[in-house]
């Protein structure tokens, strides 16, 4: 190897989670090197909508991580220049129910969330239009979640990387990790890339959808799988959709295990003008081909929620792959199987929102502090090793 670097921690993956991990590690005083085989935000981050949500999470460890992350996002946004440069908007989420049954379920869900620390305000049918003047008539009601926010994910990742570099981290894009280096006793001692070895006693796996492959390089299994999603983007509009607005069945889809296509309308405006329309979920591997039927369902759902959108033009559609683990919780924290290996991946469709909390917790365990949240539910070794016929 022509050259080698030495640092305290190598973070693999310059998406949103890697960027936040490098930022909090650098601010905790660690020398961090962030590597990615592609550009910044080249994977799931660049194909996301930038949701910072508590509304879609039931009480439990993921909601706790979302609440912690939301506070950290607000702190970052309060730093000079950050909010504008990442298009941070604390606009709130509005979940609507079409009929009385759905509303009852939604109210029950919100009541449980309240007891876990979520702000959730019931909105009567008659008040929906005060919040969203263009939303469909005849809905049964909804719940407003003021803590829901949004960032532009690629900008957020790139700006957090920039802040991390200001704090002393360095960035290597176009560097593919080909090997996780380990000592004779099995502990991590760095990574190998075509441009040289990077020596470090700690490696953070923030490789998103490819987190399983990176884990395998370190000799452990982590069953991260892709779940494809499409997003539709409209022509630029004045602010007609004020919140992130979605139908109550979205929550069921997020938690579902089904491989079949699921779509539930999620509609939101952006600072730049276009309206973004999600969300579809399919387990089709890394198939990048365009699917007109999926975008058709998205359009149908969005126009039901906001009838004015029928006249608005879709300018483009893009797709991405959410990295998910079988129980829909991310892997966050040290891997007991390999000393020095840490995981920060498998956030499914919530990685932008959960990035700050994840990065913060990773920095805490890297510096031997007690993490703010119990990491037991996020243990990377919680899944059984794959049986031979299932593969990995």
């Amino acid at each position: 190897m022509s050259n080698s670097l030495t640092c305290d921690v190598v973070v693999v993956g310059a998406g949103m989670v890697g960027a936040a991990s490098a930022l909090y590690a650098a601010r905790a005083g660690l020398s961090a090197v962030l590597v990615d085989r592609g550009p910044v935000a080249g994977g799931t981050t660049g194909a996301g909508e930038g949701n910072l949500l508590v509304s879609d999470k039931e009480p439990g460890p993921e909601l706790d991580l979302a609440l912690l992350s939301g506070r950290l996002w607000a702190d970052l946004a309060a730093e000079p220049g950050v909010a504008g440069s990442v298009e941070y908007e604390a606009k709130g989420g509005l979940v609507v129910a079409a009929g009385p049954e759905g509303l009852t379920a939604l109210e029950g869900f919100a009541a449980a969330q309240r007891s876990a620390g979520v702000e959730a305000e019931s909105v009567a049918a008659g008040q929906l239009h005060d919040l969203e003047p263009y939303v469909a008539r005849g809905l049964a009601g909804g719940v407003l979640y003021p803590q829901d926010a949004q960032v532009m994910p690629t900008l957020a990742a790139a700006r957090l990387v920039r802040l991390a570099r200001t704090a002393g981290a360095s960035l290597r894009t176009g560097w593919t990790v080909t090997e996780v280096l380990r000592t004779a006793s099995g502990a991590v001692r760095g990574v190998r890339t075509p441009y040289g070895d990077i020596h470090a006693p700690a490696v953070v796996n923030a490789a998103g959808t490819w987190g399983g492959e990176l884990a395998a390089l370190a000799g452990v299994s982590l069953p991260v799988l892709p779940r494809r999603g499409f997003v539709l983007v409209t022509e630029p509009l004045p602010r007609r959709v004020r919140h992130k607005v979605y139908a109550a069945d979205y929550v069921a889809d997020v938690a579902s295990d089904s491989a079949a296509l699921q779509t539930s309308p999620v509609v939101e405006g952006t600072a730049a003008g276009p309206v973004l329309i999600g969300a579809s979920r399919e387990r089709v591997g890394f198939d990048r081909s365009f699917s007109l039927p999926v975008t058709r369902e998205l359009a149908a759902g969005a126009t039901r929620l906001f009838p004015f959108l029928a006249e608005v033009r879709a300018m483009r559609a893009y797709l991405g792959f959410r990295p998910y683990l079988p129980d829909h919780l991310p892997a966050v924290g040290p891997d007991p199987r390999v000393p020095g290996l840490f995981h920060a991946c498998g956030h499914e469709g919530a990685g932008i929102g959960l990035a700050t909390g994840t990065g913060h917790l990773i920095a805490q365990v890297l510096t031997d502090r007690t993490p703010d949240l119990d990491l037991a539910p996020f243990r990377p070794d919680r899944f059984p090793d794959p049986s031979p016929e299932e593969g990995s």
Binding site: E235, P238, G273
Partner: protein, 102 residues
């Protein structure tokens, strides 16, 4: 010598013109002309302002690809002047920003 014009070049004998309104001003249009051609022939070269800095824009690519010549026709925003043929009585308006208003 009579000055050369596109009409003379192709020995055009156009059908009688009709009128449309452009920002409340009446202009004469030859049948078959696009809105962009009609505006050019009365010396109007821009009819849109951008949503960022408010720059004036008109035809650029002339074949429907660049979307710089957007305007509002009969209340319908974001129409490409280089593609849409003018029809008698059309109400055509310059367009600001997104073309949508609240």
């Amino acid at each position: 010598m009579t000055p050369r014009t596109p009409m003379r070049l192709v020995r055009a004998r156009p059908e009688p013109p009709f009128t449309v309104t452009f920002d409340d001003r009446e202009i004469a249009v030859l049948p078959g002309q696009t809105i962009a051609a009609a505006l050019w022939s009365v010396g109007v070269m821009s009819w849109r302002t951008t949503r960022g800095s408010g720059e004036r824009r008109g035809v650029f690519c002339g074949i429907g690809v660049c979307f710089d010549c957007l305007l509002t026709v009969n209340g319908r925003p974001n129409q490409r002047a280089c593609l849409v043929r003018a029809e008698p009585g059309d109400v055509i308006r310059t367009q600001e920003g997104t073309g949508h208003h609240d």
